[in-house]
Symmetry: C2
Subunit: 198 residues, 2 copies
Amino acid sequence: MAVETRDRIIEAADLLFYQHGFEATSFADIASAVGISRGNFYHHFKTKDDILDSVINRRLANTEQMLDRWEVTGSDPAERIRSFIHILIVNGEKIRKFGCPVGTLSSELAKLNHAAKSDAAALFTLFRSWLRRQFERLGFGDRSDELAMHILGRSQGVATLANAFDDDGFLHHEVDLMCAWLDDQIAGLTTTNNSIRE
Amino acid sequence: MAVETRDRIIEAADLLFYQHGFEATSFADIASAVGISRGNFYHHFKTKDDILDSVINRRLANTEQMLDRWEVTGSDPAERIRSFIHILIVNGEKIRKFGCPVGTLSSELAKLNHAAKSDAAALFTLFRSWLRRQFERLGFGDRSDELAMHILGRSQGVATLANAFDDDGFLHHEVDLMCAWLDDQIAGLTTTNNSIRE
DNA sequence: CTAGATATAGGACGACTGTCCAAATGCAGA
DNA sequence: TCTGCATTTGGACAGTCGTCCTATATCTAG
C-alpha cells in the first residue's frame, strides 16, 4: 500500500534528520534506510522540503499525543510538569548523542533561513502552551507563561551541555535542580495564598 | 602578505559558520566573501576541516582574551559573572538570529560525527573553567563547578529559545532571573559562613 | 636584474546533490 | 483475460561540492 511506504519514509527521515541534521541527510540516505529506490520518492513527495514538513507534522502529532496522555493519566499538574522535566532522563542517551530534537532542528533551520523554521518553533509552542496550562491550574495566573518558558529554557540548556560534554551526571543533577525549583515555586505560591487568605 | 589573506579567510569563515553553519557554508561562499579565487584556498589550507580548526582556534583565542580582560578590569568575581550573563544582552541581536556560536557549533558537529567536536567543546570548557574560578574566589569551594555548569546551561537555554521565538523580552527577563539567582547564591553563602563563624 | 620562492587565478576532476522522467511492474475491477 | 491506475525502478539531468593541478603573477634575496 502507498501509505505504508510514505509513512516509512517519514519515519526514517525523522530519525535521520534528528541524528545527522536536515541538511546533512540526503535522499540517498533516506532511500537506503527505507530500502527503496531514490526515484520512488517523487511519487510520495514533491521536494525535500515536503518531507521536512511531513516530519515536523509527525513530530507535532506525536508530541501532542504524548502531552494529551500525560494530561489524562497524571493526576495533578505538578506531577505532569515533573513528567516533562524527566524527558531529559528518559531520553538521556539520545540527548547526549544528538541533543534535543526540537532545539537542534530549530537552530539548524534558523541558520538555513528555512521557511519551515516557524513550523519547528510550533513544536516549542506545543510544549510551552501545555506547560503554561499546568502552571495556570496550579494557580500561577499571569506568571504561568513566564514559568513555562523558564523550564523550557532550562531543559534546552541542559540538553545542549549534556550533549557537548556527554555528561550524564550533569543531566541528572540539573533535573533534580529543576524539580526543586518547581517545589519552591509551588511553596512560594501557597504561602502567598495563605497570607492573603488569612 | 600571505598571513593577511589567511586571516581574512578565517575571519570570513568564522562569520559564515556562525550564520549558516559549517556544513552549509561552501568554499565558494567563503571565497566570494573574502574576494579571492577558490583555487587559492589550498595554498593556505589543506582541507575544509583545516579551516574549521583554525576558526575554532580563533574563537578560543578571542574568548580567552575576553575572559582575561574581564578578570583584570572587573573588580569582584560576582561582577565578572554578571559580565558573562550579560553577553546574552550585548549579543542579543545576533543570538536571536543565529543562536549561541558555541552551542550551535557544538550541536552541529555532534550530529556530523565530526572529529572537531571535542575542540568545540573546549570552547565551553574555557567558559566553564573561568566561571568555576570566579565561584571559587567567592568561596563556593567544591560546588563551584556545578554552579559554573548551571549558569552555562541556563544561558544556553536562553539563547536557544530566544532564537526559536525571536523573543527579546524573554531574553532580558531570563538575564534578570540569572542575576537574581546569583545574588541568592551569594546571600545563602554568606549567611552560612556567618552562622559557622559565630 | 635575475632566480627562486610565494601567492593567486581559473579550471579540471569525480563524486554527490535534489529533481525529474520514461519504462517496467503490480494490482484493481470489468 | 484484459484494461487502467498506482507504484516502483534505475538512470538522466544540471548543478554544486571538496579537492587538486597547472599556469601566471607577485614579491624578495642575491
